[in-house]
Symmetry: none
Subunit: 281 residues, 4 copies
């Protein structure tokens, strides 16, 4: 009897241990035909990943300007925070993909002349690569996107361009005003078209089709920016614009600036928010 008890104890201990720690791989690569180069990404695999055949929901988590795919790993402490939030039962086990958009060009977007089209790479090559390489659930309802600063901007525009791709979007301290970024290439027509696609006022203008706005409303949004952040004003404008267009969203303003402290504070709440999509409330 004691022997059985021992076995049982061991089995339980083993299970408990498995439940506790995911793994981060800092530098994996994907070949891009579109960009004609290899692009790097970091990836978090949830605690059970190697000991099961489960498929997992996936979060694409975007870094800020001047940073790369290791930012969320090192400064954002993504492993510690994801492990803890999952262990506490506040987030569903998920895969987190952190691509490197340190492109020396325009971050998450293409140039107006269409060159170096990172956005097309993201949707046409990176996502398929991830879904082919890892056990990822590929329905929209299992896919979310989040990011900070320039990556918050990426989160917003990727979702506005492709709302059918994401169940939830969580821009943090987002750089919302891409139109002011230097546009280096292309004809005047190209630049005008580009600006229209990378400006909130254009995309969400009163002349935008109801059909389009309705698709944006299907995404669950979590928008957060500290009240001392130099982007706080822009995020308040985003809130007002979403209210104007009746796009349901969560909006949070907490004490803080444009700092990793703020983003580490928000990351568990982002994981919890998107897990409500993954776990169907």
């Amino acid at each position: 009897m004691k022997k059985h008890l021992l076995l049982l104890t061991l089995a339980v201990a083993t299970t408990a241990v498995f439940a506790q720690q995911g793994r981060v791989f800092e530098t994996r690569t994907v070949k891009s035909e579109i960009l004609k180069m290899e692009r790097r990404y970091a990836i978090y695999l949830p605690p059970d990943y190697d000991h099961t055949d489960r498929s997992y929901p996936v979060l694409y988590l975007l870094h800020g300007a001047g940073d790369d795919h290791t930012g969320w790993v090192q400064f954002g402490q993504v492993q510690h925070i994801a492990d803890k939030t999952i262990a506490e039962g506040n987030a569903a086990p998920m895969i987190i993909v952190m691509p490197d958009a340190n492109t020396k060009v325009r971050g998450y977007f293409n140039q107006p002349d269409g060159s170096f089209d990172y956005e097309r790479f993201f949707f046409d090559e990176l996502i398929p690569h991830i879904e082919k390489t890892y056990r990822v659930r590929s329905d929209r309802r299992y896919r979310a996107i989040a990011g900070l600063s320039m990556g918050g901007g990426g989160t917003i525009y990727y979702t506005l361009h492709h709302p059918e791709f994401f169940a939830a979007a969580a821009p943090l301290s987002a750089a919302t005003e891409n139109s002011k970024w230097t546009v280096r290439q292309g004809t005047t027509e190209q630049q005008t078209a580009y600006t229209r696609m990378h400006t909130l006022d254009s995309l969400l203008s009163q002349t935008a089709s109801d059909e389009y706005i309705n698709r944006i409303r299907q995404v669950r949004w979590y928008i957060s920016c500290g009240d001392d952040d130099f982007l706080s004003r822009h995020n308040s404008r985003l809130h007002i614009l979403f209210l104007d267009r009746q796009i349901p969203h969560q909006y949070r303003v907490k004490d803080g600036g444009h700092t990793w402290s703020y983003w580490r504070m928000e990351l568990p709440l982002v994981l919890e928010f998107i897990s409500k999509s993954f776990m169907q409330f």
Copy 2:
């Protein structure tokens, strides 16, 4: 004999217990020459009030439209929350005055024609009455103002009209756009002058004097409004306007609507925030 002992014991215990809780008086009155009537107010006296000669800082806490001086007592649970926040050491013992602005006219303000001047009553009669009747510290640095909805609007405009009166101001879910309220009385000139004094854009316009804006900057501001509140957009505009005029302020947006749950959640934080003025950080 035992019975007498019991009575004695109870009497002593009762006194001692009072000393641990503050007390709320729901309806006290002050005679107003200005308004030509008696006005009511509720008052919270801190735990020690009756057993010491101390003078206390004071918070003027304003109710919303359609409510009266009992709102913060009944719905806001001011006694429970103040007692608890003080007992935890997060707030300084203070007196809280809750005036009745249920004037059936225009809440905290006068009419454009100058009739029913509640604001003049507040500064010229109510504050002096309180400081004469209770042991109140009467320096600016021991006086704060807060309020919800219409009372948040009162908090903002009273402070913008008389910044030298308040160390801290905490508008919650504030109705900021008084200019749109119906103005019932007065000539066109009077209405224009009135609107200028009760509109944020006028008071804080770029043509406002540096001297005036600097006085506004001396006040410590705590502005909070839920993201589901129908006034959320106006409060985000207030945040942007304060940023434009470089008026330091705390801004918070949390999950919630125009509800007493939100205000009860915020009240301890308001008491803590203004106590930082009262306790000199």
Copy 3:
């Protein structure tokens, strides 16, 4: 039986309530023949004071420059902190006297010409008044002194001048270098003599008698000053000087500046430290 149980319950409840709250009187006065005026003080009486005939140890707690006897009451939250520290069993019930040294002259000291001798008032009039008026244990071992900034300086020099008066001394963020204060009155000889008595280097010089230094060593010292305090350097010098003269003392440097946050953080530790004298370890 139930009735007895009820009585017992009530008795216990009463006791528990008594154990919980002291009282602060903010403004009491003592007539001074020496200063030819009335001087004010605030006083904290411990929880049981009115319900017993006990005598209590006493702490003299000095305010800083520009403040008065109400500083520790309002900003220092002395009642809340003393009540809590006593209730937790970390401090002995004690009386705390906070005199008003806002003399517009030289704070805790006399003028070089001997005029306005606050120090003589303190020892010859205030202490006797307190011991006559309240149930105070008057042995040295039940008497302590503490203070902040200028009051930390007062704590140090009062103790160096009268070590036989105090079991423990706790200067916080002390202004140690009184010699640099403006000396307004008196002859050159008087000023020289004055400086000798109000300078650490003079009082604790290597030529000071062993007998004197030994008396200083009998006092239990707790010295604390934040590392961001503009007086931090002077307090480190005090530590070194005490080490040089082999005067046993506790020295603490924590994160913080010349702020009430620091002093509120230290007050419970001061009460605990001096209570070790009062409770005989």
Copy 4:
């Protein structure tokens, strides 16, 4: 069959358990051309090290006089403390290198005649060896140094000699006054030059160039020493000297002596302090 299952379960559990704790290797070696010998070091690898491709920040942690590379392992409980601080989220996962400076000569420095140049070994051989052998992030912002007693002295002088190498420096109970150590070798000129480089007053004298002092100011400093430590006086002088030269630093004095209790109490705070560099606040 059950037995096999048990073995399997144990094997799997073991792997998983390793993943939750870091590992310490007590004695690894590096060949030194400079010292013409093998030198030993202990190393802590963080929890995930063997199950990921991540690169980690690195802390060089120096032992005291008479001790060796095993001191922090055995007496300092580095594994337990690092594991716990990382698991609590208060420190970033990092590699900790503990070199053996038990050279029977002069600890962390060379002789005045240049012989046995441990410092050159440290910078030119040990650091490159570590960065080649382990997955270490080699930017300055991912490198810190700390140490106790003689190792606190090493921390200070290594950082003063090479400020561009370290994001943060944490000398504990530091032996700051190297100039008084016996200098056994070299000509008078060599000894003078040596003293100049190993004396705080020389390195940080008022004639030191602004450019040099500014480089020292770029390092984040955490200085701590118990008030009963025989080196407490020297550390207070260090604090004063840093204040004189306006070098920002944290300074802590807590109750305690020159003991491992003090250093074990401080180690988690050191890891937390330097992690603020590693995690970008």
